[in-house]
Symmetry: C2
Subunit: 315 residues, 2 copies
Amino acid sequence: MSLAEMVLNGDIRAAARLMRDIDDNRPQAVDNLKQLYPSTGNAYIIGITGPPGAGKSTLVDQLTAAFRKQGKRVGVVAIDPTSPFTGGAILGDRIRMNRHATDEGVFIRSLATRGALGGLSRSTSDVALVMDALGMEIIIIETVGVGQDEVDIVKAAHTTCVVMVPGLGDDIQAIKAGILEIGDIFVVNKADRDGADRTARELATMLEYRSAPEGSWNPRVLKTEAQRATGVDELVAEILLHREHLFSSGTINNFLRERNERHFVDILRDSLFKKALEFMVADGTLDSVVTGMGSRTVDPYSAAELVLARMMGER
Amino acid sequence: MSLAEMVLNGDIRAAARLMRDIDDNRPQAVDNLKQLYPSTGNAYIIGITGPPGAGKSTLVDQLTAAFRKQGKRVGVVAIDPTSPFTGGAILGDRIRMNRHATDEGVFIRSLATRGALGGLSRSTSDVALVMDALGMEIIIIETVGVGQDEVDIVKAAHTTCVVMVPGLGDDIQAIKAGILEIGDIFVVNKADRDGADRTARELATMLEYRSAPEGSWNPRVLKTEAQRATGVDELVAEILLHREHLFSSGTINNFLRERNERHFVDILRDSLFKKALEFMVADGTLDSVVTGMGSRTVDPYSAAELVLARMMGER
């Protein structure tokens, strides 16, 4: 039996193995993904993003518990800013999730931001696909919402929750703004802290400036204290409300088209580039271009055009 | 006269126009970059990165002033997390730089992180190239060091300064670690704040764990108060020391090869992808693949292989 068939039979260890193959860029991973693809598209994907320190991991943990209580199977893809130095600190967060470790209805997978050369949003989509095929009904994608990469990742989510926290500085304010546009729900976490109401009000005011066409979803600002699970049920209810709106308004069709296009285009970009690199390494082009750039006798723009032309058989 | 020739003659307005053409992805931008290329490679590039709120803009402002005092011409490329909402806050930072606005020896350019589809490190390289051709002897690239994208950008710098600030939370600590590896100099800014010494000590301790081959550069931790220009001369001295090491140790050769390879590969990836997109839009492939994915009758992995094969004339 192929890994794909085992995954479709609900084999969790096969799913973990396939995800490792995806990580390692093994060619057979693609064969398995092809096999899985027709059976996917059933999971509801929730994106959780926000600045560092907002308590996203704890919130994801609580959401997982809440959906489990409803009997849903839950997959979690956590994008970790890994580090050789303080990796421990981040692992600490993951360990908190361990209360779900013995629960077969929960599947947690961390993806590292480093080393995923330009392919992080693609790996996230691929991993989510495996969870979907495994029968996870809810998939939560958690990412630190600061870089463009991370923002792109949550675009794969049906519902995106932007998590804020009271009392972050001005600069954070600026970054925060960059993710305002992608939020379907805004959460002020650690709502017991000073300034929570102010942050919530400020967010609500900013959202009023969002220009949105008639009949489109109106994002609300909720308050939570993830540590004590306060406000989590309300958040779940709001997520379901947004889901309802997505389907009843027909927005879902556009959303899915855009998501599929992005996934396809990511894959194509990767494979084009891999092919070109093979070409250039095999015939020594890469080396001679780089050497020529060093002496300024070759410019990279003309060199790229030449490689492209040669690949396309134009000469 | 072409824009490139005007830039080589020191025409600042021509440089600004060429940068706009780069932003807008105009085909003639590439022609001009080709013309400029042979005359570049003279500028010394300094990268400034660190978490939001570390005071990077102020530090860049002070560095600019310090290099100007030495009679150097200075270019600044600032990567801004732009936003339609609080753009003002960020602009505020830029306005501070206005004390250099009437100085022909300073050229400042902001690049937006949004909308630069996968090409931010490429645009940064291209813009730096124009500044180089214009005769800027020092180019400072400022970026918020949180995403992988931003980390990739400062890899183009000869000397990278990682700017920290006392009293950031644990999560920031984790992200901070991700950029430890790329720092040649570490700066604890806002050193008048509580905890500055502790942060400096912690950084120094972390750096001891950095495994580095014999004879390689040993990053130090400096303290600054950019607002009052305290510690800025020391920082400049340390940058020059690192530059000295780069050349005397021969590390410069590897550095330049890697930088050139990255620049070339970025350009190639972009142009390959653009070509593929043209192909697919023209013959309706993109549309039919996306539709097929929606009904799960087409999988994106096989579709990418087909497009690739067709582009390469394999069928």
